[in-house]
């Protein structure tokens, strides 16, 4: 139990660290948020008033402690552009991004891992090499380009879906699915490709180990050796890769929401950056960091549960 507490502590530490880094970087930006909100034509007195209201004139340590306090109470400040609390804006956009991420993850796991197993089974023979080659290409295609191509083919030429926009799940579940499936595919493609390669390499590595020989010498055939012995051993390193995949998916979502004009967190972020709505950027960076840290914490926990060799407390 102590181990999990320690990991939890490390997780909180990471979030705090990220928070501090974002706070400090936004501290050193030239130009005041008050100024960017009012525009350069504003009166000196207006500027002073707003600065005071936003607490910009307070000393650094007070602003820092206020920031940290806000962090624990979930109060991330107010967006300059929308004049709405940041957390409200984010929560509003979150369902789109989360649906997108979950669909992409499902595609990655359901397509990537089985294909990886098949490709490992055929090893150096034609199907194996073919899958490897395709996955190599899949990793090289930028997701926003495949997004554009998908829009062109399915939206413009075939007219199966109407590109852009999002219908909430509660209104029209099928419509929501239709509006999300193409972007999910675009996000998933590179990750599918990389998980195929990881699975294949991991399995082929395991196939070289001695326990495979022992299993064969018991009279098991290759398929049951693969399923009963190799697969579980091979999946352990892949679990750690899932953390990376999670980051890839969120990164992919930021770009792809732009391509498909989906009203998600990614689009909000890009808008916030281009309009220099810094409290919003700050808040979203933290939010994404938090999500990813939590995912990694769970991956860590799964890891220790699955592998009996990892004695609690040991870092792998």
């Amino acid at each position: 139990m102590f181990v999990y507490l320690k990991k939890l502590f490390a997780m909180i530490l990471t979030v705090l660290l990220v928070s501090l880094i974002t706070f400090v970087t936004f501290e050193i930006i030239p130009g005041s948020p008050a100024l960017s909100r009012l525009g350069v034509d504003a009166e000196e007195s207006q500027y002073e008033a707003l600065s005071a209201e936003l607490g910009l004139n307070d000393p650094l340590e007070i602003r820092l402690s206020r920031w940290l306090k806000g962090l624990f109470t979930g109060d991330l400040g107010i967006s300059m552009r929308y004049s709405v609390p940041v957390s409200e804006l984010i929560l509003d956009r979150l369902p789109v991004t989360i649906s997108l991420a979950v669909m992409a993850l499902a595609l990655i796991v359901l397509i990537g891992i089985p294909l990886g197993i098949v490709s490992a089974k055929y090893g150096e023979r034609l199907p194996g090499i073919l899958i490897t080659l395709i996955s190599q290409i899949g990793m090289a295609i930028p997701s926003f380009w495949s997004g554009i191509i998908l829009i062109y083919i399915f939206g413009i030429v075939l007219r199966w879906v109407s590109p852009g926009g999002f219908v909430p799940w509660s209104e029209d579940a099928y419509g929501a699915f239709k509006s999300l499936i193409l972007p999910a595919i675009a996000i998933a493609l590179p990750s599918i490709a990389s998980i195929i390669r990881y699975t294949r390499n991991s399995i082929m590595d395991q196939m070289k180990s001695d326990y495979v020989q022992l299993a064969l010498s018991k009279g098991l055939n290759l398929n049951s050796v693969l399923l009963r012995h190799v697969l579980k051993n091979a999946l352990i390193p892949i679990i750690t890769v899932l953390g990376m995949i999670a980051a890839n998916i969120l990164g992919g979502a930021i770009v792809i929401e732009q391509v498909f004009t989906l009203p998600g967190v990614g689009r909000l972020l890009i808008n916030a950056i281009t309009t220099r709505d810094l409290p919003l950027v700050q808040g979203m960076v933290l939010y994404i960091a938090f999500i990813i840290v939590v995912i990694n914490f769970f991956i860590d926990v799964i890891y220790t549960v699955i592998d009996p060799r990892i004695r609690l407390g040991q870092r792998v």
């Binding site: 139990m1 004695r311 407390g313």
Partner: protein
């Protein structure tokens, strides 16, 4: 004990483990539990024991790769654990180590010549001198100078160990610690290396601390032998004497377990179980759970080292 060229006194090495429970004190691995020995100039001193008994830890601690938790290491009477920087360098030259794993101790990306040059350069030698010295020592260990440009993976096992030996000897040390120098070699090559080491000892008047798990080899090679069990020395004697009349039950079982020997009169003793973990060693005598002659006292009182016959020490309640 008389003054030796290398002495160690009550050497201890404990490793602290990571804390795994909030309220429980983290345990520690007791790799060495007070090892004392004295090696005289010119002798071959053997250290025997099974895996994990602390033989290698002893070697690494002497050459300074590990810091002892407690204890003193004396080289010619000077404590080397508290040496200053430049004195340490002098000491380094004088006490060298031959590694067990022939391929692991040679840098895979260095040619034989580069590998041999590194220690000399670290000692601040000139290029010319270095070249001469290398050629000279290649000759000494019976290697062709054509091999200088080769990489370790292009050498055979025996050649690699010769390079390893030369690498240790090139600084002209007085004491050479050999950590299982032949156990990773093929049988037909082992004899070559043993002969070479014997030959070099005579020519360069070396003192050896020879570490091995093989009692036969140690008996053949060494003048005196110390037997280790779980971080302690349990018996210490002149080599012939130990072989003829082993006192400690552990030594007796070790001797009897040597496969294929028909010469000795000992009945085969099969011990129970494995060596216990140094994480939580047994109480009393560490050997008692496996001992075939254990008595009531053994589980509670730790035996002391006693001299049973002249120069034959044993730590056992039987004597």
């Amino acid at each position: 004990m008389k003054r030796g060229i290398l002495e160690i006194h009550d050497l201890r090495k404990h490793y602290r483990l990571r804390r795994t429970r909030l309220l429980k004190k983290p345990g520690s691995i007791k790799a060495l539990n007070g090892v004392s020995l004295s090696i005289s100039k010119g002798e071959s001193f053997g250290l025997v024991g099974e895996s994990g008994c602390g033989k290698s830890t002893t070697a690494y601690t002497i050459v300074g790769l590990l810091k002892p938790t407690e204890g003193r290491i004396l080289f010619k009477g000077d404590d080397v654990t508290s040496l200053k920087r430049n004195q340490k360098r002098e000491f380094r030259k004088k006490v060298q180590l031959i590694f067990q794993d022939t391929s692991g101790s040679l840098n895979p990306r260095g040619t034989v010549e580069w590998i041999l040059r590194e220690p000399l350069r670290a000692m601040g030698m000139q290029k010319r001198e270095i070249k001469e010295l290398i050629l000279e020592s290649m000759n000494l260990v019976g290697l062709d100078k054509d091999l200088l440009g080769r990489f370790p993976h292009e050498l055979s096992g025996g050649q690699k160990q010769r390079v390893g030996i030369m690498n240790a000897l090139i600084l002209n040390p007085e004491v050479v610690i050999a950590d299982e120098p032949i156990s990773s070699l093929d049988v037909s090559i082992q004899a070559q290396i043993l002969n070479l080491m014997n030959d070099l000892q005579e020519r360069l008047s070396l003192t050896y601390l020879f570490i091995s798990h093989d009692l036969n080899v140690v008996h053949y090679f060494c003048d005196r032998i110390a037997v280790m069990y779980l971080g302690e020395i349990v018996e210490l004697s002149e080599s012939e004497e130990l072989y003829r009349s082993p006192l400690h039950p552990y030594t007796q079982s070790l001797l009897s377990a040597i496969p294929g020997e028909t010469g000795h009169k000992l009945e085969r003793i099969i011990l129970e179980g494995d060596a216990p973990s140094p994480l939580n060693p047994p109480t009393g005598c560490f050997f008692h759970p496996r001992c075939f002659r254990r008595m009531a006292i053994c589980s509670s009182v730790k035996p002391q080292m006693t001299e049973v016959t002249k120069d034959h020490f044993v730590s056992c309640h039987l004597y």
